[in-house]
């Protein structure tokens, strides 16, 4: 029996639509589920007090601080390196074998799983450089991990700046560096900030690499050599050791909201950026 093409189309589209719906539904379900179970736990005291009894009670304040400091440190390192790389690729050279090598290296770096970063950080920063399990080791390791993201988004942002601006600046006797500093970078800023948000989001979500390098100490860090615990790590420990499902959900809720907020801001900035360009 030959099915007429029209009917095949209806069936096919139905299946495809169903698949899409399923995908979106599952992903939404996860967020709703966690928020539903976790938000009731998130009270002001939960956010501002220290964990007690290994996390069975109390709050997650020092952990929030740890979660803020770690991406801050990583970005402080990854941002100059990443933007600098993008500036070189976009402004100072044309496509040569060298740029292909640099891009290849960046793509490879992007594909390395976080556990390998954890192993590397452990043996290099924690061990060989004697930094121990610390904010520093974690920050440096995560910096390398988000470097490809920063490079990619920065390069895109730089390329979006109209070539005409560079020509005008050059024709007035600006050196390349002056053109980059005064015209290109300020215009690429929103795109670069998007990369920062995405990179920060990755740092916050990361668990394996953080445990291996920043440790799991859940108290307030007083120096860069102190170990810290991030929300993702805390959540993992609570959940896996069966310490407190309730607090686990609470931590997860805060974690998800933070990540969603970062990503939403990144997308909103990207759209504002594109809209401005189109004018």
């Amino acid at each position: 029996m030959r099915i007429p093409p029209r009917s095949t189309q209806v069936i096919a589209v139905g299946l495809l639509g169903g698949a899409t719906l399923l995908t979106v539904a599952v992903l939404v379900f996860i967020i709703v589920f966690v928020l539903d179970k976790g938000l009731p736990v998130v009270t002001w005291s939960f956010l501002t007090s220290d964990p007690e009894d290994m996390g069975r009670a109390g709050g997650i304040f020092p952990i929030i601080i740890g979660t803020l400091l770690l991406p801050l440190l990583s970005l402080a390192i990854a941002l100059p390196l990443g933007v600098g790389t993008a500036v070189y690729l976009c402004e100072y050279t044309r496509e040569t074998r060298m740029t292909r090598v640099i891009r290849f290296g960046t793509d490879c770096l992007a594909g390395i799983p976080s556990i390998i970063f954890g192993l590397f950080g452990l043996v290099f920063f924690v061990g060989m450089l004697h930094m121990g399990w610390s904010l520093l080791s974690g920050g440096l390791t995560l910096a390398i991990m988000i470097l490809p993201t920063i490079i990619r988004t920065s390069e895109e942002a730089l390329r979006a700046v109209p070539q005409a601006y560079r020509e005008v600046s050059c024709s007035m006797g600006a050196t390349r560096w002056e053109t980059v500093r005064k015209v290109v970078l300020p215009n690429a800023l929103p795109g670069i900030v998007t990369g920062v948000m995405l990179g920060a989001g990755r740092c916050i979500s990361e668990t394996a690499a953080v445990i291996f390098t920043a440790g799991t100490v859940a108290s307030m860090p007083t120096s860069a050599f102190d170990s810290v615990r991030t929300m993702a790590v805390h959540f993992y420990i609570l959940a896996r050791e069966g310490i407190s499902n309730e607090n686990a959900y609470g931590t997860a809720a805060v974690l998800i909201l933070a990540v969603l907020l970062l990503n939403l801001t990144a997308y909103w900035m990207m759209h504002a950026f594109i809209r401005r360009r189109a004018r």
């Binding site: 601006y165 050059c170 006797g173 005064k182 004018r279």
Partner: protein, 254 residues
């Protein structure tokens, strides 16, 4: 060295990625005069213009042969600084390109380059002077700190001219500056150029032969990368030496 000559080209050729864009141009451009460059699209007019301020260097694969001199100095000499050159030779592009800054910031962009920016009072004076010379001051004097992007097309182009003037460039290059503008804006710019030539050397590339006839003291006709003929504007337009020139200015082809 003839003190009348500001820019001199001798056997000057330009190649892009191995293709010949300009063939052996020999031409003298006199100071304090307007040279109009006419010719159909693709004849190398823009390439020649961009060679004068070495903007062709931005092209990833270009090289030149021959000599191009400014005040007797070879500007393509390895030790000649292109950045310094561009402070003496300014350019107005075909599409008005204000930088995404305020009007004030646009005009002072050039003078602020180079690590020793002049003091604020001097800059203010420079801004007024340049905007007046570009016939734009009266229209924008109350909104110097609004964005340059908000001006009309004609105003933006005059802003670009003011930008070049603020650099106190000796030479002003204009690449079809009025191509997108209405007749009134065009007239304002032509008026400005005529007033400016007493202090500057002006090279004006234009697709509009009538504009060259109105404004240029001397005219050069480029065709397919070659300089066919050049001379006083009146002569080029009435009794040219070359048949091709005659065909072009009478509109037989374009």
């Amino acid at each position: 060295m003839n003190s009348l000559v500001k820019i001199a080209a001798r056997g000057f050729s330009v190649f892009f990625s191995g293709n010949l864009a300009l063939r052996s141009i020999t031409l003298e451009i006199h100071r304090n005069a307007i040279l109009g460059i006419i010719g159909p699209s693709g004849s190398g007019k823009t390439s020649f213009l961009r060679a004068i301020n070495r903007l062709n260097d931005l092209h990833p694969d270009s090289h030149i042969e021959g000599v191009l001199q400014l005040d007797g100095e070879d500007i393509y000499h390895p030790r000649f600084d292109p950045v310094a050159l561009r402070k003496r030779v300014g350019m107005v592009f075909a599409l008005p390109i204000p930088l995404p800054l305020s009007i004030y910031e646009n005009v002072v962009y050039g003078p602020r380059l180079g690590g020793h920016p002049p003091p604020r009072a001097e800059l203010d004076e420079l801004v007024e002077h340049s905007l007046r010379a570009a016939f734009l001051w009266d229209e924008v004097k109350d909104r110097l700190h609004t964005s340059g992007l908000r001006l009309s097309g004609g105003q933006q182009q005059r802003l670009c001219l003011a930008r070049v003037l603020a650099m106190q460039a000796e030479v002003i290059l204009l690449d079809e500056p009025c191509s997108g503008l209405d007749p009134i804006s065009t007239a304002k710019i032509e008026e400005a150029l005529t007033a400016l030539k007493s202090q500057h050397t002006i090279v004006l590339v234009t697709n509009n032969t009538k504009q060259a006839a109105r404004v240029a003291d001397k005219t050069a006709f480029f065709l397919m990368g070659e300089l066919v003929e050049h001379g006083p504007t009146r002569q080029i337009f009435t009794v040219p030496n070359d048949k091709r020139t005659n065909d072009y200015v009478t509109g037989r082809f374009g």
